[in-house]
């Protein structure tokens, strides 16, 4: 029930913000903050309660389960369930939710009600994605999170917002529809094999799929997740969306929406199509590496700060893809860590970009420089997160990248070697951020204030989390461990039976029925 | 009466008339001529029905022909009313002048 509550809180909070926003512009902020806090508390308390359980009974993967019939004609149920992996991402969702509310506090002054409505509904959609254990429901939430995001970018973004919003929406929709087709294919194959038509994840996991079909279906899923992640040739929506979105939008895009892609691969692609996924492993890893290098090279050349950070995301998500398709525990744990830490580090960079824009009214790094002397606090924080993004040990990202590379090394030495180049390139672009913004000669800006109390609060939280994760990542690892172990187990006992599927003769049935019942009474 | 004319020939005649009607609709620019050509097509269809009816020795073909007549009448009455309006508005019956809406 707690899962429904979580979604309910966000949706309810959003609606309340929308309605109350009609009367007063600042009420929605407080409503949204309260909602996000409530969600976070809910999940955090749940986590602390369950943490013991996770450690003592690592075999019981699913922590809590909720199931109601929804569209029973199609075997669709409202089925929510979480394991450690989902739980972590939910915590992340609520955590970033709070930050998103806080960082749009001053930025958004127009139509606040509708803004926070969208923001909270995105959170609801994302939470739903992380919890849904019914493929239809999953797709449903998958799409639900897009529309508010579209509005968020399209209404409150910067100059080129409409273009970016379109691009974001169309990319994700196109790929999502292909995934939907794959879901349907899976549904019918399962139904025809067993006679039971259901979208239930756990049932579908047992489906025996002919290997060729399996590959196609898996590609359908893959495309959606690859676009969301984003994987190398599908990444181009991301820089536009990130750079045009308002700060909270970028934060949520980078912190949460990208994660749904990785989550989808871990949750659906591998368990549903282990054999096909293994076939796909090598190309996927190569794409991952391509993303790492390509993203890094492009990041290096950008002059728009948010664009730069966006390309670093491409690079970092390349690690995630590579890790996922390395198929071993180290890499999987690395991926989980990367999901969490990338959200924090990149989120922080976006928030910072937002703060700078608020002060200098530009995102062009050529117009910045020497900000350290004006804003030493921001400088220090910016430096820290630049370091995080290049994977400095002691910060969370290092753990993630190291584990991924370590795991990938087992799968393929050469690919990992090329991927390691990413470490060098990441140094190049991260230091460029520091150089362009904080170092160098300072030009004559007017008065610029350093962090306000609210900003210090936001940044301190982020800083402490990234360092904490860097030095003691064990809670995250432990929480994810049961889910990851199960995944590894699944891959080891990979079943590659090839089943025969017969096409049903449904149409004849219809005609016969009609003709029998109507021929001349 | 008996005839050695086969259905094929009659249908061919109907088809010829039909195609002539189509040609008329396409090549004429004057709306009145277009309406006339459409009448030719409807007439051809009527012929086809009557022919088919007598091939099966059923009255249904002729019944259908009667309905076609009714429809043609309805068609023409509204069509001509429209032509009147068009003429009043455009002082011309050139169909190619009626292309304000496009794209």
């Amino acid at each position: 029930m707690i899962l429904v509550w979580l979604i309910g809180i966000f949706m309810g909070g959003g609606t309340a913000a929308l309605i109350l926003g009609q009367w007063n512009k600042s009420i929605p902020r407080w409503v949204a903050l309260a909602t996000a806090l409530a969600g976070f508390l809910l999940v955090a308390i749940f986590w602390t309660n369950q943490y013991q359980m996770i450690n003592t009974h690592p075999s019981s993967v699913w922590l809590v389960d909720f199931k109601r019939d929804w569209i029973s004609s199609f075997g669709i149920s409202f089925h929510l369930s979480i394991d450690g992996l989902s739980l972590l991402l939910l915590v992340l969702t609520c955590f970033l939710g709070i930050l998103a509310v806080l960082c749009s506090w001053k930025e958004i002054t127009e139509r606040t009600g509708f803004y926070y409505f969208n923001l909270l509904w995105i959170l609801a959609g994302v939470s739903g994605v992380f919890m849904a254990m019914d493929l239809f429901l999953f797709y449903f939430f998958w799409e639900v999170m897009l529309i508010p995001m579209y509005f968020l970018i399209g209404i409150w973004g910067s100059e080129n917002r409409v273009y970016a919003a379109y691009k974001f929406f169309i990319f994700t929709q196109a790929s999502g529809l292909l995934m939907f087709l794959a879901i349907l294919g899976l549904y019918f194959i399962h139904g025809q094999n067993t006679g039971m038509y259901t979208f239930n994840y756990f049932e579908l996991m047992e489906t025996v799929i002919p290997s060729e079909t399996g590959l196609w279906l898996m590609l359908g899923f893959m495309v959606a997740f690859a676009v969301k992640l984003p994987v190398f040739p599908f990444h181009t929506w991301l820089p536009d969306a990130h750079s045009e979105a308002p700060t909270a939008g970028s934060l949520i895009l980078a912190g949460l929406l990208l994660k749904t892609g990785a989550y989808g691969m871990l949750r659906f692609v591998i368990p549903l199509f282990p054999a096909a996924a293994e076939q796909m492993a090598l190309p996927a890893m190569i794409l991952g590496v391509a993303g790492i290098v390509y993203g890094a090279v492009l990041a290096y050349s950008q002059t728009d700060l948010k664009r730069l950070v966006a390309f670093t995301s491409v690079s970092h998500m390349g690690f995630v893809l590579m890790g996922i398709f390395s198929f071993n525990e180290l890499a999987f744990q690395g991926v989980v860590m990367q999901l969490v830490t990338h959200a924090i580090s990149t989120g922080a960079l976006f928030i910072m970009a937002g703060m700078i824009k608020e002060r200098l009214h530009t995102r062009d790094m050529n117009q910045m420089g020497g900000l350290w002397s004006r804003m030493p606090k921001m400088g220090a924080v910016g430096l820290l997160f630049a370091m995080a993004s290049l994977g400095l040990p002691g910060l969370g990202n290092f753990i993630a990248e190291f584990l991924i590379l370590l795991g990938a090394f087992k799968a393929s030495v050469w690919i990992t070697t090329v991927a390691a180049l990413g470490l060098v390139f990441s140094a190049a672009y991260s230091l460029r951020i520091v150089q362009k913004i904080f170092w160098g000669p300072q030009d004559g800006y007017g008065h610029i204030r350093d962090f306000s109390l609210r900003e210090i609060l936001v940044m301190t939280t982020l800083t402490l989390s990234i360092i904490g994760l860097g030095l003691y990542p064990q809670p995250v690892i432990d929480t994810a461990a049961p889910a990851i172990n199960k995944l590894v187990l699944l891959l080891e006992t990979d079943k590659t039976q090839v089943g025969k599927v017969t096409k049903p003769d449904t149409q004849q049935y219809l005609v016969k029925k009609y003709q029998e019942s109507y021929v001349r009474k | 009466m008996s005839s050695s004319v086969s259905t094929e020939i009659v249908m061919l005649l109907a088809a010829l008339l039909f195609v002539l009607g189509i040609t008329g609709v396409i090549i004429r620019k004057n709306i009145i001529f277009m309406l006339l050509s459409v009448e030719i097509m409807l007439n051809a269809s009527g012929l086809a029905f009557v022919a088919a009816g007598s091939r099966w020795g059923q009255p249904d073909g002729q019944v259908m022909f009667i309905f076609i007549l009714a429809m043609a009448a309805a068609e023409v009455s509204i069509g001509l009313a429209l032509i009147l309006q068009i003429y009043h508005q455009h002082k011309s019956l050139d169909i190619d002048k009626l292309r304000e809406m496009n794209g």
Binding site: - | T7, A15, L16, I22, I27, V63, I66
Partner: protein, 176 residues
């Protein structure tokens, strides 16, 4: 009998061709009437006497008169003929004619590839037609009434001669 059929068919075709090629609307109309009359003859030959009668009375008699009426009302005479002469050029009609030819070929191919049947019991007089009209097709007749009602209401509304708002100074007097 066959000769009669072929001759009538030829008349029909020729007069139809004349319909679509005449410049003067009245001429075209007259050719159409000829075409309809000869078609009535073919109906008759096919044994559909009732249909033949209706063809003459309603089609040639009533509907064509409507056309004449409109042509007269709009005073479409020489002027229109000249216009049509200008419009009806080879460049305009070759393309469509080729298309129509293709379509005709397809018809021919499809119709002729079915087995041809000779007419042996052709006579269907008014009686069976009337019977089936008011038994089997009673609902159809009622619906046809609705159809005509729609036509009447529609034509009445559209044909009502109220005028176009050209400009408020040039506003014509309402006629009906």
């Amino acid at each position: 009998m066959d000769i009669a059929f072929y001759i009538t068919a030829a008349v029909t075709l020729i007069s139809t061709v004349m319909v679509i090629t005449r410049h003067n609307p009245v001429h075209a109309l007259l050719y159409l009437v000829i075409s309809l009359l000869s078609l009535a003859m073919i109906f008759f030959l096919l044994g559909a006497a009732f249909a033949a009668l209706l063809e003459i009375i309603i089609y040639a008699g009533a509907i064509m008169v409507l056309f004449i009426f409109v042509i007269m009302l709009l005073n479409l005479g020489e002027e229109t003929a000249a216009q049509e002469k200008k419009w009806l050029k080879a460049s305009v009609w070759t393309g469509p004619a080729i298309m129509a030819g293709i379509l005709l070929f397809e018809f021919y191919y499809l119709i002729s590839s079915s087995d041809a049947v000779l007419y042996n019991e052709p006579n269907i007089g008014p009686r069976p037609v009337a019977l089936s009209l008011f038994r089997e097709y009673l609902i159809g007749v009622e619906l046809a009434a609705m159809l005509l009602m729609a036509a009447v209401v529609g034509a009445a509304h559209i044909g009502r001669h109220k005028k176009v708002v050209l400009h408020r100074f040039l506003k014509e007097k309402e006629m009906s």
